[in-house]
Amino acid sequence: EPEVTQTPSHQVTQMGQEVILRCVPISNHLYFYWYRQILGQKVEFLVSFYNNEISEKSEIFDDQFSVERPDGSNFTLKIRSTKLEDSAMYFCASSEGQGGQETQYFGPGTRLLVL
């Protein structure tokens, strides 16, 4: 069964450093998403991406964040200068069709710890 994969599974970084989280969405999916989950809290939407551009983003997704689809299979989330409060699980998701109409499938997540 096809699934979304994410690397690394864990990432520890120093405050102020840049991190890149990587995702490989399901191969025939066209819509991609990033969510985060701070420990013990709700899953929160960050950004949706389609046709090589951001289609929607939340207030959390400020100028420190960026997304990219560098090739035909990878989808990345970059945090330019990490802050302590960026520590969270980051989930990538993908859907075949537009996410308000089609199921979003989630990856296993990357646990980011900012020290």
């Binding site: 979304v4 994410q6 819509y31 998403y33 969510y35 809290q41 709700k42 899953v43 929160e44 939407f45 949706s48 389609y50 289609s55 929607e56 939340s58 989930f91 859907s95 537009q98 996410g99 308000g100 109409q101 199921t103 979003q104 499938y105 989630f106 990856g107 296993p108 997540g109």
Partner: protein, 116 residues
């Protein structure tokens, strides 16, 4: 603001019993609802979804009920098994025609514990 919330943070059931997990939503414009299961250390796993033009949908051992009048969503799990132990999230979306590009709004989650 608009929110999706859960009535009970924890639910403990005996193996073999049926489980009912409830969710309230406040955005009357939401037209797509999903239940996800999250096991410890893993990502949300899709269970079942329902659109606002339906009030019931059944899957394998699971049923989702949608009551738009009172803005309530429930997940019923039949013959609950130890492997069902997890946190269950409901999520909503206002849909493309509501101006959304896929922004799922999640509830806080209900932890289901199944006692053998």
């Amino acid at each position: 603001g608009e929110s999706v919330g859960l009535h009970l943070p924890t639910l403990s059931v005996q193996e073999g019993d049926n489980s009912i997990i409830n969710c309230a939503y406040s955005n009357s414009a939401s037209d797509y609802f999903i239940w996800y299961k999250q096991e410890s250390g893993k990502g949300p796993q899709f269970i079942i979804d329902i659109r606002s033009n339906m009030d019931k949908r059944q899957g394998q051992r699971v049923t989702v009920l949608l009551n738009k009048t009172v803005k309530h969503l429930s997940l019923q799990i039949a013959a609950t098994q130890p492997g069902d132990s997890a946190v269950y999230f409901c999520a909503e979306n206002v849909g493309y025609y509501g101006g959304s590009q896929g922004n799922l709004i999640f509830g806080k989650g209900t932890k289901l514990s199944v006692k053998p």
